[in-house]
Each structure stands twice: as C-alpha cells, then as structure tokens.
C-alpha cells in the first residue's frame, strides 16, 4: 500500500530509490530501505527527523525468500511522540552496516542479532556472541535451526544413550 504520509514523502525526496517500500500499520510508518544506506538513513532519522531513541533492533528470518533476513529497527521520537520502523533485507552472506556509532545501545542489540541469526554487522567494534557460550554451534533463531539437534547431541555425548525425543 502506497502511503502519502508527509514523513514518508520527505524520506522519498531525500533518498529516492533507496526507499524500497513503505506502508503504514496502525498509524505507524514502516520503511524498507536499501541495506547499503541503512546507516545514512538511520543517521538522518536521528538528527533531522528527531527519531532520537532506538528502542529496539532485531531480525526476522524468512528462509524461503531470496534475501532471508529482515533487520528491523524500531525508533521513537520524544519530540513527536511517534514511532518509526526501518527494515533492511540481507542474505546470509551480506554484511549489514552497523548503527552502533549512531546509538550506543545498538552495540548489544547487534551482538544479539549476530548471536541468534548469524548476521554480520559491518563496523561493529566487538561483534561476538552475547547470550550463548562462545563455543555454541549455529544460530538458534534461524528457522532451519532444529531445537532437538542440540538436545539429542548432548544426551548422546553425556549420557551415552539415544534421546527419546
């Protein structure tokens, strides 16, 4: 659904073809932006559009799509009392520009996305696992990560039997 919202218009004038899609959902603007320009658009959002608070950064896995990952930024503006959601698509090998330099809070959020999805953020100062142990295999929130694999392997290794699950 095309959107004639002022906010989206300004983004389209400024970045043109880098805004791939836009729609509103429950009065909130959602923009799909080109991955390469994610950093610039995020900076513009913070400084010019006053979406100065990054409330959340996460990812979603759509394994059937050509570019399987959605990187999702949920931003909030204290001044306008409004939220904005930015999305960028990436394949498993593509690097996503880090927004850690724009919001310090993105540091841990990007580490979590790396930990859970294996998305690499370009320019992150210390990209390593955050919740799982360093030696963990795989990225659990990918849709093709089977929850039983880890469990059966552990049972086989430590108890010497086949897991009944």
């Amino acid at each position: 659904m095309a959107l004639d919202n002022d906010l989206v218009k300004r983004y389209k004038e400024k970045f043109g073809p880098a805004i791939l899609e836009s729609w509103t959902d429950r009065k909130q603007a959602i923009l799909v932006v080109a991955r390469e320009l994610l950093g610039e658009i995020a900076l513009y959002s913070r400084d010019d559009e006053k979406f100065d608070w990054l409330s959340d950064l996460t990812a979603v896995d759509w394994p059937k799509r050509e570019k399987r990952f959605d990187i999702v930024l949920n931003m909030y503006s204290f001044e306008k009392n409004e939220r904005l959601r930015l999305k960028a698509h990436a394949t498993a090998d593509e690097r996503v520009p880090s927004v850690q330099g724009i919001w310090s809070t993105a540091n841990w959020m990007e580490r979590e996305v790396y930990d859970m999805f294996g998305v690499i953020f370009e320019g992150h100062p210390d990209l390593k696992r955050i919740l799982l142990p360093d030696e963990w295999q795989g990225h659990p929130l990918r849709k093709d990560y089977d929850i039983l694999t880890q469990d059966t392997a552990w049972v086989r290794e430590n108890l010497g039997i086949e897991s009944g699950q």
């Binding site: 959902d25 979603v60 959601r85 859970m116 799982l132 659990p140």
Partner: protein
C-alpha cells in the same frame, strides 16, 4: 594509564595490563549481582577503569520457544522473564496479541489490569529498594519492604492463586473475575502506604551514609541516557520526562491522574528518589481505580483458537524497569512466526560500563542495584 574511552572489551589485547592494573572477576555467583550476572572489572587500585558484563547464564531461549507454541500457550512463559514483575510482562504480551487480533479487552478487564499492574509496580520497586539498600549496607529497609510486598503478593494469591509467576491475564481480558473483597484489600494496602514510604525515606533520604554512597555515583546525563536507550526510572532520573503510560496510554491509564517524577542529576540518588515517588503515584492510581470499577464482562470477543491475520505489531508498556516491548509477527497460523521481546533490564544494563568508569569497586554494587536488573529478563 590506558585510554579510558577504549571499551574494555575491544581493547586490542586484553592480557596487556599496566603495572598497577588487575582484572577482577565478579560473579556469576555473587550476592549483589541479583542473579547470575558476571562482571569483569579492570582495576587500577580501587578504581574501575573498564568493565565488561558477561550475560546469558539464565538464557532459556524464550523467543525460540514462542515459535513452537500457540499464542495462548506462550503466555505463561513471559511471566518467567521479569519474575519479580510477572503481571506487567503478562499485560504487555496480552495487549500486543490483542492489537494483532484487532480485539480489545472490555473496560472492566482494563481497570482490573491497571490495578494489578500498579500493585505489581509497587511490589517490584519495594523489592528493588530492599535489596539495593541491603547492597549498600542498610539492612533495615529490607524487612519493611518485604513486609509490604508480602501484602501485595497475598492479594495476587487471592486473585489468581499464584504469588510470583501469576499468569493473571488472558488474551482478550481476564481469566478470573475479581474476588469480592479485591477493592477492600487494595484499599487496605494503599491507604496507609504513603506513610510507609515516608518511613523508608526517613531511614535513607537524609542518611549520611546513604547520601554519601549514592550522590554523584553512576551519573548518566539525559543525552547519554537516550544514546544508551535507557528507559523507565533510569531515563527519568536523568531528567527526561517520558512515561509510556502518559505518552501512549494503554490499559486504563488515560482515566487517571498521576505525575511523572523526574530527577536532575541522573545519579544513583536521583534514581532512588524517582522510584520512591513512583510508588506514591502508583498508590494514587490504585486508589482512583478502585473507586469505580465498571461492571460488565471480563473477556472480550476473541475466539477459542487464536489466529491473528498476517501482520506485525510492536507494542510496549511501561514495566517497572522501563519500556517492555513485544514485536510479534503473525503468518496467519495459530503460532507466532516471531516474537521479539525488548527487555528493559538488558538495555539499561548496557549503560553500566559508562556509569562505572572512574568509580570505586564498592560502587559496582551500588550501580548494579540502581539499574534494577532482573537476570531472568536480561537473558530471557
């Protein structure tokens, strides 16, 4: 002396230390880390010049579990994140799914939700105050705080049978009708409660040791707090007057009058003052709400099998610790495609390194305490 601005974790070679420096490991089994938080401290004598939080010891993969449960089945799991404020977690989840369904809880359910959530906020702040004061060396407040918290837990127990992991709400409304004396119990608790808060304050607010241990410790300016994504009392103590209950009202908060307390200096003392005032405001909300609980059904129109239309929603509430957000994606089946939980504790904890630098080892426990983290929520 190394450059203090270089984050500890990204130091080119962590094993290279100055002649006066040591690395001190704290936790994960340490009484003042409120759970299983491990902190690596880089020290120059008593002074902390860098730190790194190691988390994940309590990770249970809640977001992955959600993808393998139906919407209804997942509801009890959210209670186990912030386990000292389970009611708030449940409210956020239920409202997010309701938004996704396009359903709404009836007015009676919304008011009862508001009452229980505010009682939970008081309980959570009481628990924070008791343990925070205990960490800093004031033993007495703990006993008073737990005494009052017990009264709140008794109300929860009478309402839904559970004290901590309550699972008090259902998607679309409430599972249980309020018991006959709920209003009376809430009133009996709230009426004398402002005197109780005065009592805690008489123990701490002007106590020289307390002031000495908290004033000027762990300062976070408004700009830094926003940069670090801090929310809740941590953000408000830095002078940002923002509360989701006012900014984007949910449940029945738009019906009640209350103030948003803010601080000026963004230090540990201000965060203490802000939370004390918040307890008073929560008490006022509860007293207003019990005056007029509308009659009517407690469940809205939602089907027995929940199948939200494909789409996504981000809904957040003001939990006792800060902004608790749920980002839920539906693919039109009975199970969520993705549930992302934005935990306030995790993101407030991120500012820890910023706050501790230049302070002493003894201030580490003060700052962990003032952030009011719950590791169940940090690690999920």
């Amino acid at each position: 002396m190394p450059d203090e601005r270089i984050p500890f974790a990204t130091h080119a070679d962590q094993t290279v230390l100055g002649a006066d420096e040591i690395i001190l490991n704290m936790g994960p089994q340490h009484p003042s880390t409120h759970g299983v938080l491990r902190v690596k401290l880089r020290l120059d004598g008593e002074k902390v010049i860098g730190s790194e939080c190691v988390i994940g010891y309590l990770h249970r993969g809640v977001e992955k579990i959600a993808e393998h449960r139906t919407y209804t089945q997942f509801a009890p799991y959210v209670d186990r994140m912030d386990y000292v404020a389970a009611v708030s977690n449940g409210l956020g989840y239920c409202e997010a799914v309701e938004k996704l369904l396009g359903a709404e809880a009836p007015p009676r359910a919304r008011v009862i939700r508001t009452i229980l959530t505010e009682m939970q906020r008081i309980a959570s702040h009481l628990f924070w105050l008791g343990t925070h004061a205990l960490d800093i060396g004031a033993l007495t407040p703990l006993f008073y705080c737990l005494r009052e918290r017990e009264e709140i837990l008794k109300i929860f127990e009478k309402y839904c049978g559970a004290r901590l992991t309550t699972h008090a709400f259902r998607i679309g409304g409430l599972q249980y009708e309020a018991y006959d004396e709920l209003e009376k119990d809430v009133e009996r608790f709230c009426t004398p409660f402002d005197k109780r808060v005065d009592e805690y304050e008489s123990l701490l607010t002007e106590n020289r040791i307390w002031v000495g241990r908290t004033k000027g410790v762990g300062i976070l300016t408004a700009k830094e707090a926003i940069d670090y994504g801090a929310s809740g009392p941590v953000l408000r103590a830095s002078g940002v007057k923002w509360d989701i209950r006012k900014a984007m009202p949910y449940a029945a908060y738009d019906q009640y009058k209350f103030e948003i307390p803010t601080g000026k200096n963004g230090d540990t003392y201000d965060r203490y003052i802000v939370r004390m005032e918040e307890m008073r405001q929560s008490r006022l909300i509860c007293l207003q709400a019990i005056e007029n609980i509308p009659a009517g059904p407690i469940m809205g129109k939602v089907g027995k099998v929940l199948k939200p239309p494909p789409g996504e929603v981000y809904h957040s509430i003001e939990a006792p610790k800060g902004e608790l957000g749920y980002y839920i994606i539906s693919d039109g089946t009975t199970q969520p495609y993705r549930v992302r939980i934005r935990p306030p504790s995790l993101i407030n904890l991120e500012a820890f390194d910023k706050m501790i630098r230049g302070h002493l080892v003894a201030d580490v426990v003060a700052i962990i305490g003032t952030l009011d983290i719950v590791l169940g929520e940090v690690d999920r």
